[in-house]
């Protein structure tokens, strides 16, 4: 079975793609059948992926020599494109994680989307989404990756705008698509540069050639530019500052979609791409610093927004932006294993919390404001307690998953700083403050939603088994999923690493610091939002620091800034170009036409209609031609007896 899985890894993305086709063309009228097909396909993919992961992790040779097989797609002089599969521990881990989370989310969706008229369509989109992401993960070259990357973007567009009757959903879908397209344009330029300079987009080929970039006649500066252009793609896709604005709005899609986008597909694609091309960033310290700094800044920036948001899914969305910043930070300081480890644990607890939020919304009939909830844990114990586990995991309380991965990132950042990068201490400071803020805003959400006084106007009820089952599975994973990467037995670091295996000794001071930060965050949230029944203290704080509160609540006005920029600068530029088009371009074209018309009208009078005039012109023309030929061509001139 393992051998079969390793040689048939292409089936993993193909099965959900097939499910998409089957649902669209055959089973669309039959809702139950459609979801069964989708779940069967993704579950088969998961089984295959589990076997692949087993095969890859039990064979340490895969790190140095990834299993690659490919087909020639098309070729021409000096340019060939393959489609292929590349299996190494990173892609095996991603296959396993994505297919597992996607399976759970699809099971959950059968409950969440129950009775929706677009039920089958929803499952077809989910299947295509999973297929695109799985295909992206196993791509052996960057062009194939880019195609699937765009397909992931398309699926997110379809799913965010799933409720097409809602204006806000349509707007959010467009916003997501356009914002990420801006990033994709930068990435496309980066890919073009890579192809032109190195003559290949194969990951293995590039990994061999990039370190010898001087032989290809390019400078470190140009390589830095290429890396940064390439990084613009992930900035858009993974919601990094300043292209993060689409991600919170993407909450307009059905909640399982939010979970899929935030935990396993769309946004992790960016992190994964940087992870895959880390050999490039490792060559250019400048670009890596850009990645690290943008990551760290995004982490703290989004966390400070999350602390004042009111909508349950928006808080989670900013939390995702913040956590993705963490992953980028880890990549920027050069640690593939820390970044992928956080990606792995984050997938579990973030999927868990999104699905939990979906369960809450389901129970409260889409009432999303956390201030209007309270005491839900009594009526919805499974949702509530699994959410608490997710909250403990993301806050970084040991031994839950988030603690280990966040700690790993703090550790590698600190070591980066110790190895002569002064900037590293700033990054570490950002990351540490973010850890505190994360614990605070997440537990603010939990206290407001699940604890405290019940609101009499709400009549919540626990969700059906199809929804609680995935929550329980994810809660177990969020609790124990981090144990593969403890500092004492860092199996994870053995599996997934870039360059030599790196083993930091357990840094107990750092561990204590991160626990203290997490507990302090939770404690503050407890004091403000639980102990203080009337939330007077929180309201007073908001009153006293009103300007800061508003700044955070309005997301630092980035959206407004973009709107202003579009309305003034872009529109003014468009107006100027419009003027130029109407008055300059059009006049040039019309002027040329006018000249032709006028000269035609003038030439008309040369036609006398008299034979003899024409004959005279004919004769004169002959004369001119003869003279020109005679003087222009020496041999002809000689034969005609002319002088030369």
């Amino acid at each position: 079975m393992v051998d079969f899985a390793l040689t048939h890894a292409w089936l993993v993305p193909l099965l959900p793609a097939l499910a998409f086709v089957i649902i669209v063309f055959l089973t669309r009228p039959y809702a139950r059948l459609s979801s069964t097909v989708a779940i069967a396909a993704i579950f088969s993919s998961f089984v295959l992926a589990a076997n692949i992961a087993y095969g890859v992790f039990t064979n340490p040779g895969f790190i140095e020599k990834p299993l690659v097989y490919s087909l020639r797609w098309f070729g021409m002089e000096g340019f060939t494109v393959d489609v292929g599969v590349m299996l190494d521990p990173t892609s095996a881990m991603m296959l396993f994680m994505v297919s597992m989370v996607a399976t759970l989310i699809q099971i959950y969706s059968t409950g969440y989307m129950h009775g929706d008229p677009q039920y089958s369509v929803f499952f077809s989109y989910l299947s295509l989404f999973a297929a695109s992401m799985l295909g992206l993960v196993i791509s052996s070259n960057l062009l194939q990756m880019f195609i699937l990357w765009e397909l992931v973007g398309l699926c997110s567009f379809l799913l965010i705008g799933f409720y097409t009757f809602k204006v806000s959903a349509r707007e959010a879908a467009k916003k997501a698509f356009i914002t990420t397209r801006i990033g994709d344009f930068g990435m496309m330029l980066g890919l073009l540069f890579l192809q032109i300079v190195f003559g290949t987009l194969d990951l293995v080929g590039l990994a061999e050639r990039v370190p010898n970039y001087e032989q290809f006649g390019i400078s470190l500066g140009l390589l830095t530019l290429i890396a940064i252009l390439l990084f613009i793609g992930p900035i858009g896709k993974s919601g990094q500052f300043p292209l993060h604005v689409w991600l919170p709005d993407a909450m307009e899609g059905p909640t399982p979609v939010s979970a899929l986008i935030h935990a396993a597909t769309m946004v992790v694609a960016g992190v994964y791409l940087v992870g895959r091309t880390l050999f490039l960033f490792a060559e250019v310290p400048g670009a890596a610093e850009v990645v690290a700094f943008i990551g760290a800044f995004t982490a703290i920036f989004a966390a400070t927004i999350a602390i004042t948001q009111r909508e349950i899914k928006r808080i989670l969305a900013y939390s995702t932006v913040s956590q993705l910043g963490y992953m980028m930070l880890a990549l920027g300081v050069g640690s593939l294993s820390a970044s992928m480890f956080h990606l792995w644990t984050h997938a579990f607890f973030k999927a868990l919390m999104f699905l939990g939020a979906g369960s809450v919304l389901h129970a409260l009939h889409d009432k999303a404001d956390v201030w209007e909830m309270g005491g839900l844990i009594k009526k919805m114990p499974i949702t509530g307690w699994t959410f608490v586990i997710g909250g403990l995991a993301i806050a970084g309380i040991p031994p839950f998953a988030g603690f280990w991965s966040k700690d790993e990132i703090l550790l590698v950042t600190l070591e980066y700083a110790k190895h002569g990068h002064a900037l590293g201490y700033l990054l570490f400071f950002f990351a540490a403050v973010t850890a505190f803020l994360t614990a605070f805003y997440m537990w603010r959400l939990i206290f407001l939603t699940f604890f405290g006084k019940e609101k009499p106007e709400n009549h919540p009820h626990e969700s059906p088994l199809s929804m609680t089952f995935p929550l329980v599975v994810l809660a177990v994973l969020a609790a124990v999923g981090g144990l593969v990467g403890t500092p004492w037995a860092n199996v994870w670091g053995e599996w997934i690493h870039f360059g030599d295996v790196h083993h930091g000794d357990p840094n107990y001071a750092l561990m204590i610091l991160s626990v203290v930060l997490a507990v302090a965050g939770i404690g503050l949230a407890y004091r403000l939002y639980y102990q203080d029944e009337e939330k007077q203290l929180a309201k007073q704080l908001a009153e006293r620091y009103q300007s800061l509160y508003k700044l955070s609540y309005n997301k630092y006005y980035v959206d407004e800034l973009y709107a202003w920029f579009t309305r003034t600068v872009v529109d003014a530029g468009a107006k100027a170009l419009y003027w130029f088009d109407i008055y300059v371009v059009d006049n040039i074209v019309n002027g040329l036409a006018g000249v032709t018309k006028l000269s035609g009208q003038g030439m008309r009078f040369l036609h006398t209609g008299k034979m003899q005039t024409y004959a005279l012109v004919f004769f004169l023309a002959l004369l001119v031609i003869t003279v020109v030929l005679a003087y222009g061509n020496p041999t002809l001139a000689g034969s005609l007896g002319g002088v030369n």
Partner: protein, 105 residues
């Protein structure tokens, strides 16, 4: 061939005839006169063909053969031209070329 005639005599004669014919063809108002002028130009060409053949390749008769072709074509052309002129005269009652300007825009 007794006293050799200088070939330039023929060329000068032919050039003179051609120029006269050209002038007539371009300037005469009467269509018949234009046709006659064209005949003069063709004659100039024929003189050239025969004379130059005699001086350059006396053993071959290319020039003479060409001259006969030209005469044949000229006869046919004049026959056709006269027919057209007569047809036009019938409809317009004139052979003055200045009146034949309906090819104008």
């Amino acid at each position: 061939m007794g006293t050799a005639l200088n070939p330039s005599y023929f060329i000068v004669l032919s050039a003179a005839l051609f120029a006269i014919g050209l002038y007539g063809a371009l300037s005469r108002k009467n269509a018949i006169a234009v046709l006659i002028s064209i005949e003069i130009m063709l004659t100039a060409v024929n003189i050239n063909l025969v004379a130059i053949n005699k001086f350059l390749t006396p053993e071959a008769f290319i020039g003479q053969i060409f001259a006969i072709f030209v005469i044949t074509v000229a006869a046919a052309e004049v026959g056709l031209g006269l027919a057209i002129i007569i047809a036009m005269f019938r409809s317009r009652h004139t052979v003055d070329l200045d009146d034949f300007d309906w090819m104008k825009w």
